[in-house]
């Protein structure tokens, strides 16, 4: 039996997040005590570096190296930022951790502060997470009462404080430089790196930005050691990853799996298979920055590098399962619409390029495209990918590129045959009445919003294809299955 392995989610559903006793009972704050009393900051960074932990926000940058860079900087002030601006469509693992195991994030941030020499932590959280905010506030308060936060933590020289900053729901503020700009009260838009935040971040000071899930991994690594962590997952991507499993799958939910598990296992075993016995088509990972994984890659072990090599990415952990009813062109369009809404609009390739890309895809799904459109799409994707300023833009064409790579046939069908096999792209659908089945009940004609169905009572009806807006009302209203879609 294939099972989840829970590191980041270890306490979620096990402890009362509002009880510090529950947390202490679950080895809470032991990692902090160990660090403060038995380890030098450099030792802590070494453990994290050697554990091979990589940023769980999506980029997969080695956490220890980030910490080391910030630790190496000489500055009167440094900052630890927890990125809780979760914005991938369908992903909510950060919320689950913050709501379910609040103290573990505070503890890990404090450890990070100790390691790099920062005394100020900021949790940048979306304002749409009121419960998480409430629990964090309570947890900060009680941690201070106990002396796990604040001045002279546990009687040591080390002081660390955490405050909350609210994001207003801009996806791009998940990008670390945009997040920092937002905390500074500026428009949430990325700036060119280098300098990296570890060198010049918040208010120009060395700053570490780590995602919630990354922080949730810190304490277990300190407590159980780097070797234990490395024993889980793969060589290059040790540990686990939390995914929000969604889409056409039976057991939708939050799962934490060891890196290296195959997608097949995730879908068949943990996810309980495809819903309604339909046929699997693809899985999308990495949200709007990712791509799709198809049947042929079902047995690829999931880790950062493998996902990149098959044209997708880990991302923050959205995992959307698609079946035969999903149109891949439409699917790419969906993510692109999201990107266009969420782009900050700063750089030209992302601001204008993605809009034009969407317009090209719309041509495909509307049946207005000709064969030259594919090279146009490809060239535009290449420019957006290479020339955009931040991660959002650089990855935004991925859903298009990956569907083009694996489902070129569906694009071709839309373009050449003007057909959408999944019957999703409305403009390409054709509603027809089967004369044999129609008994002239007039129900379809009466319900048609544009009055394009004609026929006398008890006689076979016909749809005027030119006037039809493909709304599908007749189809749903016909009691005799006399209307077919093709």
């Amino acid at each position: 039996m294939v099972k989840q392995v829970r590191i980041a989610l270890r306490n979620c559903g096990r402890v009362n997040p509002e009880s510090i006793e529950d947390y202490i009972n679950a080895r809470g704050y032991e990692a902090l005590v160990t660090c403060l009393f038995d380890k030098k900051p450099a030792d802590v960074i070494n453990i994290i570096t050697e554990s091979g932990l990589r940023g769980r926000g999506g980029g997969g940058f080695p956490t220890g190296i980030k910490w080391k860079a910030a630790a190496a900087e000489v500055s009167d002030e440094k900052f630890i930022i927890c990125n809780a601006d979760e914005g991938d469509p369908g992903a909510f693992m950060d919320r689950a951790v913050l709501e379910g195991d609040t103290h573990s994030v505070l503890e890990a941030m404090t450890i990070a502060g100790y390691s790099v020499g920062a005394d100020k932590g900021i949790i940048y959280i979306r304002a749409e997470y009121p419960l998480a905010i409430e629990r964090i506030k309570k947890a900060i308060e009680i941690s201070k009462e106990y002396g796990f936060l604040g001045k002279n933590i546990l009687g040591t020289e080390f002081s660390f404080d955490i405050e909350l900053k609210y994001g207003a729901g801009a996806f791009v503020c998940g990008e670390e430089t945009a997040l920092i700009a937002s905390i500074e009260g500026k428009r949430g838009e990325p700036v060119v790196k280098p300098p990296y935040p570890a060198q010049k971040g918040l208010w120009g000071k060395p700053t570490i930005v780590n995602n919630v899930e990354t922080f949730a991994n810190i304490c277990p690594i300190i407590l159980n050691g780097k070797d234990w962590f490395r024993s889980i997952g793969t060589q290059k991507s040790p540990g686990t990853k939390v995914f929000a499993l969604a889409g056409k799958i039976n057991n939708v939910g939050l799962i934490e799996i060891p890196m290296g598990m195959t997608l097949r296992n995730v879908i068949d075993n943990i996810g309980g298979g495809i819903r309604d016995g339909k046929e699997f088509k693809a899985v999308q990972t990495g949200g709007p920055s990712g791509g799709c994984i198809t049947r042929e890659n079902l047995d690829t072990p999931i880790d950062y590098d493998n996902l990149l090599s098959i044209g997708s990415m880990m991302g923050s952990g959205g995992m959307i399962v698609m079946d035969e009813d999903d149109c891949m062109v439409n699917f790419a369009k969906f993510f692109l619409e999201f990107t266009i809404d969420e782009s900050c609009g700063k750089c030209a390739p992302c601001r204008v390029g993605n809009k034009r890309l969407l317009e090209l895809l719309e041509k495909v799904t509307n049946g207005q495209a000709t064969e030259e459109i594919i090279p146009q799409i490809e060239q535009l994707c290449a420019t957006i990918k290479k020339a955009s300023l931040c991660g959002l833009g650089q990855t935004s064409p991925n859903p298009v590129l990956s569907t083009l790579r694996y489902f070129r046939n569906e694009y071709d069908e839309h373009i050449k045959d003007k057909k959408c096999r999944s019957k999703v792209c409305k403009a390409l659908l054709k509603y027809e009445i089967v004369p044999d089945k129609c008994n002239g009940c007039t129900r379809c004609a009466r319900s048609c919003p544009v009055q394009c169905i004609s026929g006398k009572v008890k006689e076979v009806h016909t749809i005027d294809q030119k006037a039809c807006i493909k709304c599908g009302v007749c189809y749903t209203n016909c009691k005799f299955n006399a209307i077919i879609v093709s």
Binding site: V5, G13, V15, L131, A132, Y146, L254, I255, E256
Partner: protein
């Protein structure tokens, strides 16, 4: 209570662990994440409280926990027995409260139509 040293911490920890080990109540862990609450966790909590009172059960305690990840089966309750072992129940409705109490608290059954598979350690 401000902890001022490593010793303070381990003393507190020891006390806490000991206290917990002595706690012989059955725990009903109800998923109280945003998702659980949205799915009706608060209603379930009330129904269970009422049911426990009705059955005059004193050795069971409700604990509000975070999200366990079983989105497809919210609201969920994990019942943890003091002697070891637990069972996860899903898709609970308030009218199932007494049923759940009878089967899983009074009879300590590990099986029922409410049980969903646990796929993690």
């Amino acid at each position: 209570m401000k902890l001022k040293s490593k010793e303070d911490f381990f003393k507190l920890k020891e006390e806490t662990v000991k206290k917990r080990a002595q706690d012989k109540d059955i725990k009903l862990l109800i998923g109280f994440g945003t998702c659980g609450i949205a799915a009706g966790a608060k209603i379930i909590e009330k129904a269970i409280e009422k049911g426990l009172a009705e059955r005059n059960i004193k050795n069971a305690k409700i604990v509000r926990v975070g999200c366990v990840g079983y989105c497809y089966a919210e609201p969920t309750i994990e019942i943890v027995y003091p002697e070891g072992g637990s069972v996860i129940l899903g898709n609970i409705k308030s009218e199932n409260a007494l049923d759940v109490i009878d089967m899983h608290i009074l009879n300590k059954s590990f099986e029922s139509q409410y049980v969903i598979p646990r796929n993690f350690e």
